[in-house]
């Protein structure tokens, strides 16, 4: 078992991950969901850092460091993408939640008609 001062970080990471997962499941608002994903991410990174910290040696293990750096960059990109997409969804559906069964509304919606493109999007 890891010693006490690392245990706390590891457990905190686990807790953050679980909390994030829970709110991802129960929150309807897209923004909250995206934030939930970020919380999960932070939990994962915390675990990595704790792992790096507890290795013996003069410095903390640099490998998990680099991995976390990679992870952070990826999660920044993910957040940006999610936000942009969420905004498109809101523009198209006029709501900030995901309807439960979207493909029910699909058949009329998939006919590639140009006018269909414009509907529900606020014009400049």
């Amino acid at each position: 078992m890891p010693d006490a001062d690392h245990r706390i970080y590891l457990l905190a990471g686990a807790a953050l991950f679980a909390i994030g997962f829970y709110s991802l499941l129960v929150q309807a608002h897209l923004l909250r969901r995206i934030m939930a994903l970020n919380v999960m991410g932070s939990g994962v990174f915390l675990v990595y850092i704790a792992l790096a910290a507890q290795t013996p040696g003069p410095i903390p293990d640099p490998v998990p460091h680099a991995m976390v750096l990679t992870g952070i960059v990826v999660s920044v990109c993910a957040t940006a993408l999610a936000l942009a997409l969420a905004d498109r969804v809101q523009a198209a559906t006029g709501r900030v939640e995901l309807l439960d069964d979207e493909d029910a509304a699909a058949p009329s919606d998939t006919t590639p008609v140009a006018s269909d493109e414009h509907k529900g999007k606020p014009s400049a």
Partner: protein, 496 residues
């Protein structure tokens, strides 16, 4: 040296092409075709090297695991690379026509962004299949996920956008599960290298949880029942070439990682219970997906649910190949089936795309007129259907035959029953569509013209799906290189 540069090319070429396609939008289509040529050549070289010299490993930066990252090309990886190259080449051709025909003012914008995104997807797939490092696999997964989600959203319709966002949520959370699992593995074994994990991994709480996290994430990405809910809307509402890519390749990426994890990195944890559990989920997917496909009113949704079902067959590989001794029958069977499904499903989605393009709808009940005016697409759909149902001598048959053979030889008759019922259901939903090709119509209704390249790519892939059956012998021999299981390719009487 040749093998090494082939491996590097397979990753660098599409990556550079993607960047260039973004910097110089007008060149996108040509860059894609160029990539197809380069990738094809590289794969030929690599295949030669592997068949001659066995598994090819390249230590990036010359460091080597555990400090560095290894790229590895064995039979399995090569098969996946070949399938990817075939499908992506076909898509590059198909898309040439797809974005130029049809008359909505969105098309130019779509094409402008399709090419770089498509090339990123290709990069991600090649990198994924070549990587031998579970953290590096995480990066490739994210690359793959972002590209796939954005390509779905490219359709721009409401349904597509919603489906894309749901897909993104699933994909991101799944990746985080996987990433956390990787962290725990590193904490336990101090390495993320697939090859060296097998020796260091001792079953224990950490590894069980870690593997559970990774598997959960990958199952969600691979849309294995019951985590398939996101797939049908996403695959059905994406643009035709994208639907094809998603069904044929993207979901297979996660399945591939699952194989690597359970058969190569952590064989110690592959208990009979785990194997049967995978098989059970696969069986459920086969039955549920097929029944759903039978009930769909829209062609693309039918095909998407068929993907859910066909993915189930891949997971029968776990219980049937779990025994290292003689597991090779199911191993080669499942993977030949994978290739068959990739070609057949691509052909189907492309054919469906042509129909949707020509008619402006894909309601199955109103298809009568269409198939008369698009005989080639209809024929392609039929051919692909043959392989999907598993009629001999198609490659789908070869795969199912091997799975059946191993199930019978091991006395796991319940999988035989599942395959039997699944095939009949598949026949059901294929026939449901095909009958419309023969119904009598007064006069075919007028439709948008379809560029020939769109029809012929669909047909070519369909014929490939059937014809590859004759190559399955060769494929099986290729798969032997570096396979985690051994035994004859076929069991029974004289052979065993």
């Amino acid at each position: 040296m040749i093998a090494a540069s082939a491996i590097a090319l397979l990753i660098l070429a599409p990556l550079a092409a993607a960047a260039l396609a973004f910097a110089l939008p007008k060149l996108g289509r040509w860059l894609a075709l160029g990539t197809a040529v380069v990738a094809g050549a590289a794969i030929v070289q690599l295949t030669r090297a592997v068949l001659a010299g066995g598994v090819q490993t390249h230590r990036v930066g010359g460091w080597g695991a555990p400090l560095g990252i290894d790229l590895r090309a064995d039979g399995l990886a090569l098969l996946m690379l070949m399938v990817t190259a075939c499908i992506c080449t076909a898509i590059s051709l198909y898309a040439q026509g797809y974005f130029r025909s049809g008359h909505d003012d969105e098309a130019p914008h779509r094409e402008r962004y399709f090419w770089p995104l498509f090339l990123f997807l290709w990069t991600a797939l090649n990198a994924l299949f070549l990587s031998a490092d579970i953290f590096n696999l995480y990066v490739t997964l994210e690359l793959l996920g972002f590209a796939a989600v954005t390509l779905v959203a490219l359709a721009g319709k409401r349904a597509a956008l919603t489906a894309a966002l749901r897909y993104l949520f699933v994909s991101l959370s799944a990746s985080l599960f996987y990433l956390l699992g990787v962290g725990l593995v590193y904490g336990q074994c101090a390495t993320v290298d697939l090859a060296s994990l097998a020796s260091k991994a001792q079953p224990g709480p950490t590894l069980w949880v870690a593997l559970a996290l990774m598997t959960g994430g990958l199952i969600a990405k691979a849309a294995l029942f019951p985590l398939h809910f996101w797939l049908p809307p996403a695959h059905a509402n994406a643009p035709a070439p994208v639907s094809a890519l998603l069904s044929a390749l993207v979901v297979k990426g996660s399945f591939y990682i699952l194989l690597r994890l359970w058969f190569e990195a952590f064989p110690a944890l592959m208990t009979p219970g785990v194997a049967q559990l995978f098989g059970g989920l696969g069986a459920a997917a086969i039955l549920w997906g097929s029944v759903q496909a039978l009930l769909q009113a829209r062609l693309k949704l039918l095909i998407a649910y068929s993907t859910v079902a066909q993915l189930g067959y891949l997971f029968l590989l776990f219980p049937l190949a779990a025994e290292r001794e003689g597991g090779f029958v199911a191993w080669s069977g499942g993977l030949i089936f994978l290739g068959a499904h990739a070609c057949a499903k691509t052909a189907m989605f492309l054919a469906a795309g042509n129909i949707l393009h020509a008619a402006g709808h894909d309601r199955i009940k109103d298809l009568d007129g269409i198939t008369h005016s698009l005989p080639i697409s209809a024929f392609a759909f039929g051919m692909a259907g043959l392989s999907l149902v598993g009629l001999p001598p198609s490659s789908g048959f070869a795969g199912k035959w091997l799975l059946l053979n191993s199930a019978l030889a091991q006395g796991q008759w319940w999988w035989v029953a599942v395959i039997f019922i699944g095939s009949l259901l598949a026949a059901g939903y294929v026939v449901r569509v095909i009958t419309h090709a023969f119904t009598r119509v007064a006069e075919p209704t007028t439709q948008n013209p379809i560029p020939p390249v769109m029809e012929w790519t669909a047909l070519t892939l369909a014929l490939l799906a059937v014809g590859l059956g004759f190559a399955s012998h060769w494929v099986a021999e290729l798969l032997r290189v570096g396979a985690p299981v051994i035994g004859p390719v076929l069991m029974g009487g004289a052979a065993s």
